[in-house]
Amino acid sequence: MPINKKKTVDSKANQISLPKKTMLGLFDNLLKTRLLDERFRKLYRQGRFAGTYFSAVGQEATTVGPTYGLRDEDIIAPSHREIGANVTKGVPLDKIIAQVYARESSPDKGKSHPCHYGWKAKGVITPSSTLAGQTVVGTGCAMGFKIMKKDNVVLAFFGEGSTSRGGWHEALNYAGIHNLPIVYICQNNLWAESVPSTLQAGIEDFSDRAKAYGFPGITIDGNNVFTVHKTASEAISKARKGEGPTLIECKTYRWYGHSEIDPADYRTQEELEEWKRKDPLQIAEKILMDLKILTTTKREALVEQINQEIDEAIESVEKDAYAAPEEAYIDVYSEQFPVKRVDW
């Protein structure tokens, strides 16, 4: 089995030139994602919602970076760790929170599962739990855009573990043949639940998978939101122009367990500490402060403002009820085929 030597991907972010507004916008979404995610973890521990919770803390730059600047009509094909894509795409906080709380006010009416966020108005597909499932469906959306000659794009997100799935292969292969307008973002956080990336593939860089499909694969530092944004934006405009797909592997790390019930004791404390030192939020903050775009005061104000938004949204969602049980019969089919109800 080949050893996955942790190749350090140099962050050249200081050289990355992005408009000030973009940099602040990215930071804002990064911060919002972090604060909301940590809040969810706390709420879960307090037993305020049922089920489970998948934190993305530590790897937010991989979802915030590519999503920032997309159009409403562009599609996000997510998996289970894409809270950052939802925040950045502009899904309202109360929709995101209602989803986790499975309330009637959730876009899915409480039918799915926490962290399976989605909102059609902003082009985010409510995912299934089947890994890489939305990679296949998202590729189909891109095929649709191509057939309709629309210049929308699709961003498909997945972990490195999900690239072992057959459907993933079929989707990327198809996109390669037809030069579809899609960008594939692999969040390589080194682990798939308890399974290390060395047991997912005999390669070190998952971007090498693209070589099988005839389109570019790039490996980047996934913890620098500016690098991620820049790389993804270039791929997105290529895709929008009909020049085909790109696979971008973002090297990153999740700080907490796979879900909140996972103590994550399959990995070492050193590994965790090493990655915590590469906190995407702090990296972004430092760059902005160095560039004098951000000050501590401004940051504090931002934190306060976001927390207040979160407080208000939670308060409102917690007042919402679960859907009535009979909601179970709704949306099975179109109105043409109502479901027979059981009398019990």
Partner: protein, 327 residues
Amino acid sequence: MKKTTYIEGITEALDEEMERDEKVFLIGEDIGIYGGVFKATKGLLDKYGAERVIDSPISEVYIAGGSVGAAMVGLKPVAEIQFADFITPSMDQIIQQMAKMRYRTGGQWTCPMTIRVCCGGDIGGGLYHSQINEQWFFSQPGLVVVMPATPYDAKGLLKSAIRGDDPVIYFEHKRLYRWIKENLPEEDFTVPIGKAALRKEGSDVTLVSYGLMYHRSMEAALALEKEGISAEVIDMRTILPWDREMIFESVKKTSKAVLVQESSKTGGVMAEISASITEEVFDFLDAPVARVCGLDVPAIPFAPPMEHLFLPNAEKISKAVKNIIEY
């Protein structure tokens, strides 16, 4: 009116719907330049171009799942699975995406698409070119499942499937492709999904079936007629959601039912029809509901004597009818 085969009915439905609605497109293996391994899509590549008649790679996962995505952004995909035997790789996308899209998204996203599945035996296809597997989809709420038995229904049901807002698994029986011809109207018509067809009235027993087995049932009914047994023959056409009313009404009248199914008996569609008849019209039954089905073996074996033993036919159906008539 012109004489049309079952497969021509399919081609015409595809052609007319593609003409009518530019959102309709086709994807599948060998459907383009080759016109489909059975020629169901013949001529459509020339007429509509490679963007709307897509020769897919050998990727049944993508054929199903990619179509789901295209449907979500506003198209009307008609995907083809070359043989029902090769739908197993598509199960993930059919069950977890296609059937559940509307439900899991709270009705935000829908999945108006059709998968045409070429299926069935009695053509010497052996273990891997004779399967149907309709029972898997029948047990998945969210899906619509149809199987026409006649050219008229082949055309009309496919049109309804394409025009509808629900995901449809459309089984086409390859034994029927060129076997029967029928006069079809020149003008546009559809066949409603969810409605069975009462093909022959009768008073002694109700025969329920679909696809090729409808024809075997009708053959049996005609033979029985000569022996003085009057069989009512129902062709289900839609398998899910099925026409409960027509079947129950018929059984109320005849008090006896024989259900005929090509696939293996255990766990097949007719188990549900039988169980439901018992549940709903038990008091009217004069004899146990009988089933005539494919054998409980892994699939249809290739060698002709084994295939013959596997498949229900008119003789076996008649025998079952007489058994319950004499009950």
